[in-house]
């Protein structure tokens, strides 16, 4: 890699870091700006600039990485929020289907009776799950408005919605192993406690990984 293109990649690296590492939206932005910078560099070279000078000029025209990241942050945050909310709704639907399967379908098929009321904390977790779903829907609605992501006044509301969104993780960590245990019971199997605990941890961790707000949605990034 030449020194000129190393400078360009260094700039894009910094931009990517400022926008957040994970989400696809950030990767798209970085790829798009790479294409821009290479086009601009080619144009400057065609006008007679040297390799280093052309890259330097292209970078100067685009502006400092910090400023470009700052101006793009509301857009990437909005996009990441939409994708996180969609995934959260999908997760809720999966767990809901699992519950339907565990409490209605399987007991009927197996002529067994399962009483959900005997499960401690299940009702609370159901409410957590519902709050998580409501927050995902609210996030999806908010992700359609650019204003919400570019104005400071909206941040407390976004923070509240994100907070409620995490209840979905807690809910799944408890509900998923209980549902699995009920399913096992309906099939005449017994699920040992360590397995249930491991299942709970796995379900909570998987939900957190799937629906965690992408870095672009983090409030501290919006506040910069």
């Amino acid at each position: 890699m030449s020194q000129a293109s190393a400078g360009l990649e260094e700039y894009l690296d910094e931009l990517g870091k400022r926008l957040g590492r994970r989400p696809e939206a950030v990767r798209d932005v970085v790829d798009e700006l790479r294409d821009h910078l290479l086009e601009a560099t080619d144009a400057h070279r065609a006008r007679g600039a040297g390799a280093g000078g052309a890259v330097e000029r292209a970078l100067r025209e685009l502006g400092p990485a910090a400023e470009v990241a700052e101006s793009l942050r509301p857009v990437t945050a909005q996009r990441c929020a939409r994708s996180a909310a969609t995934r959260a709704m999908l997760v809720y639907l999966i767990v809901f289907d699992l519950g339907f399967f565990a409490f209605l379908l399987v007991p009927v098929m197996r002529s067994a009776t399962l009483d959900p009321a005997s499960m401690p904390g299940l009702e609370l977790c159901e409410w957590f799950g519902r709050l998580g779903l409501v927050s995902a829907i609210a996030m999806l609605v908010l992700s359609r408005s650019h204003r919400a992501w570019s104005r400071r006044g909206w941040r407390p509301l976004i923070g509240l919605i994100l907070g409620f969104g995490w209840l979905l993780v807690l809910s799944n960590a408890v509900v998923a192993p209980l549902l699995l245990e009920r399913l096992a019971l309906a099939f005449g199997l017994w699920l040992p406690l360590p397995w249930m605990l491991a299942g709970g941890l796995a379900a909570g961790f998987a939900t957190a990984l799937l629906v965690r707000p992408a870095p672009g949605v983090r409030l501290r990034q919006l506040e910069q």
């Binding site: 700006l33 294409d35 821009h36 502006g63 909005q78």
Partner: protein, 107 residues
Amino acid sequence: MWAEQLKGHLDALLLAVLERDSLHGYAIIEALRDGSGGAFDLPSGTVYPALHRLEQSGLVESDWSIVAGRRRRTYRLTRRGRRALDQERSTWQTFSGAVGALLGAAP
């Protein structure tokens, strides 16, 4: 040049540039510069957030392709974007006509 004065009009200008053709980001900036006779030489960093905002609003859409071994995003106007551009044009014509009538008239 004119960056301050362009605030509020950038979205409409981008829609107008995309009305003729699907373009990638750099080509859009070039088209803005060339189409204005060099007057609208905007800092490149201001154009991309505006393009993304227009996309989120459904006024433009984009596709990815591979050109010279790198990913390229190309924007094009949607039907909704075309309607928004017509509206912007009509508003601008009324506004510029009114301003022109006042500023253009010598005492």
